[in-house]
């Protein structure tokens, strides 16, 4: 299958020879990915293929055994997770990883405050920084979370929580956003909101999303990477992938998720 079109679009996020094994169990094998700026790439594969592991490697939550990761040309392999976020690489989690006891406004305000480097301040109140608060509220409003922003996170409906996942990531003003099954576990009535949010993301933002629902993949992705057993099985446009008998055998034959 064909690799992504070689154009002069700069590469927002790239990996080279990325490998990881837990003891004798390899979970990532020699992975090479290039995300051009503004890409809408989907990462698919059967359960256990290592998709979330790949995101963990890219974001720094896991240390690779070999290989490098480049963000806008800079080698970030040795940087810790928060450093990568500072340089514009953000992710959402497959299972909600939110501040359960804070409300949405507080959570996003915290994220924006961190981005602006003001989270260490302990003399002035949170309420005094109107720029930060306005920015936080604007992010929430765009994701249709404005009216429920005072509700404690753990009391929000699941779909709203998934949107908050995205809001927290957006608050860091990422250049590259890795979405781990953005609508996972969301009841069908609410998943529309999540996809609307994903569709509404800026064209400058580079997206890589893990998804099991092939309808979603075909709707949003311009390029699909298929991961099997920790290695890239193949990649190509949606048309190429859906016509590929090998992919069908390995993955598409199974019932779709969620």
């Amino acid at each position: 299958m064909s690799p992504p079109a070689q154009s002069n679009t700069p590469i927002a996020l790239g990996t080279r020879g990325l490998s990881k094994a837990f003891g004798s169990l390899p979970v990532a094998r020699d992975i090479a990915i290039n995300l051009p700026v503004g890409a809408r790439y989907a990462l698919i594969g059967p359960n256990g293929a290592g998709k979330t592991t790949l995101i963990n490697l890219m974001t720094g939550m896991l240390t690779p055994n070999a290989g490098q990761i480049f963000l806008a040309g800079e080698d970030i392999t040795a940087l810790g997770p928060q450093e990568r976020v500072r340089r514009g690489l953000a992710r959402t989690f497959q299972i909600n990883t939110l501040f359960a006891g804070l409300n949405a406004l507080e959570a996003v305000t915290l994220a924006v405050t961190e981005r602006r480097g003001r989270a260490g301040r302990f003399w002035r109140g949170v309420g005094s920084d109107s720029e930060t608060i306005d920015e936080a509220y604007e992010i929430l409003r765009k994701l249709k979370l404005g009216d429920s922003c005072y509700q404690i996170t753990r009391e929000l409906p699941y779909g709203r929580q998934r949107l908050l996942e995205i809001a927290l990531a957006l608050a860091t003003r990422p250049k590259v956003l890795l979405l781990d099954e953005p609508a996972a576990g969301v009841p069908p009535e609410e998943s529309g909101e999540v996809f609307e949010a994903v569709a509404g993301l800026s064209d400058d933002l580079t997206l890589l999303f893990i998804e099991h629902d092939m309808h979603v993949v075909f709707r949003f992705a311009s390029h699909i990477i298929v991961l099997v057993g920790g290695a890239i099985f193949t990649e190509g446009t949606p048309a190429e992938i859906s016509a590929d008998p090998g992919v069908r055998e390995v993955y598409l034959g199974k019932r779709k998720h969620g």
């Binding site: 974001t59 720094g60 939550m61 810790g80 997770p81 928060q82 976020v85 500072r86 953000a90 992710r91 989690f93 990883t97 939110l98 501040f99 359960a100 006891g101 804070l102 406004l105 507080e106 959570a107 305000t109 915290l110 994220a111 405050t113 961190e114 981005r115 003001r118 989270a119 260490g120 301040r121 302990f122 003399w123 002035r124 109140g125 949170v126 309420g127 005094s128 920084d129 109107s130 608060i133 306005d134 936080a136 509220y137 922003c149 005072y150 927290l168 990531a169 608050a171 860091t172």
Partner: protein, 329 residues
């Protein structure tokens, strides 16, 4: 400190979080009551204010950042011995003594914070326990400096601001301790409502999410721990000055465990929890001082089990829960 969401702007909401609630004002006015109602108990009241300050310092790291420390008395003791030694060797001025003792405790806290920030869960609990026990042993062994188990002798304080002598009735002691408590409380309140306070709550709520929003959790923890250590040292110094003595008890595991119980009793993470817990604990201990220690600890044990199983957020947590349900109806 709830806001009616309908008419609030986001900024208004956040600002309202830090507004003074009438109950708070009532509380602080009530702290003046002992002068009028219990003039014979002012020494006890002074001890309670000091312990409340110590509990407040633990709340910063436990209630807000979620760090379980079984050795926080180490800083209390460092502050107490520093203030005591300063006076013993000739400088008995109270306020500057406080500043010096607080600074020493804060510095030690800063050094320790680099260790504390790197660990979590069981390892962290054991390290705090170990460091606390080490501090105790060090104080115990260094007879030449601390007086060992005999305690520090020769502490004598000059009058506060040159005017108010420390008398036997405790007027000066209580006024002094209460004033310091209040001032520090104001600072703690600001801290809690500041971006750092929000970040600490984030760390407590979800450790994993913090780096994912670009936060340097370890730096935040170091800051909070240093501040908490300084506050604890300040409380210890107050004790040394108002009682004109320092004993090993001030750096003992007993003190670390008692303050943890008080904080949990009152409710951690609510700023007033430590204060309420300290008041209840110390008053009860004074009232029941006649009974043998093992019976006292029986009830503490029952209390702890009850709090964990029934009232997980302590008294204040239980009260606010009931209040919310009552309002909901």
């Amino acid at each position: 400190m709830r806001a009616s969401a309908a008419t609030m702007t986001p900024q208004g909401y956040l600002q309202a979080q830090s507004r003074w609630h009438p109950l708070e004002i009532a509380f602080w006015l009530a702290t003046l009551l002992p002068f009028v109602l219990f003039p014979d108990y002012l020494s006890l009241a002074s001890q309670i204010a000091i312990t409340a300050l110590f509990a407040l310092s633990l709340d910063i790291i436990l209630g807000y950042a979620g760090i379980v420390s079984l050795g926080h008395a180490a800083f209390f003791g460092i502050g107490a011995y520093s203030a005591g030694l300063l006076s013993k060797y000739g400088w008995g001025e109270p306020l500057t003594g406080l500043v010096v003792a607080t600074a020493i405790a804060g510095l030690v806290g800063f050094a320790v914070s680099f260790v504390i920030a790197r660990f979590r869960h069981f390892t962290l609990i054991m390290i705090t326990l170990g460091l606390g026990l080490l501090a105790f042993e060090a104080a115990n062994r260094a007879h030449w400096l601390t007086g060992g188990s005999d305690g520090l002798q020769g502490v004598s304080m000059w009058p506060v601001l040159g005017l108010f002598k420390f008398d036997l009735y405790g007027y000066t002691a209580y006024t002094y301790s209460l004033a310091v408590l209040f001032v520090v409380f104001l600072g703690a309140r600001r801290l809690i409502n500041s971006p750092l306070g929000l970040a600490l709550r984030g760390i407590r709520e979800n450790w994993v999410r913090m780096p994912a929003i670009g936060a340097d959790s370890q730096a935040h923890i170091r800051k909070a721990y240093t501040i908490a250590a300084a506050m604890a040292g300040l409380a210890g110094a107050l004790l040394a000055q108002t009682t004109e003595s320092v004993s090993l008890e001030s750096i003992s595991f007993q003190r670390s465990a008692d303050v943890l119980v008080m904080l949990v009793l009152g409710g951690a993470g609510r700023l007033y929890g430590g204060l309420i817990g300290a008041i209840i604990f110390m008053v009860a201990r004074d009232q029941f001082s006649g009974i043998a220690p093992q019976y006292w600890y029986f009830w503490i044990g029952v209390l702890l089990v009850a709090v964990v199983m029934v009232l997980p957020n302590g008294i204040l947590g239980g009260l606010s829960h009931f209040y919310a349900r009552w309002r909901g109806k």
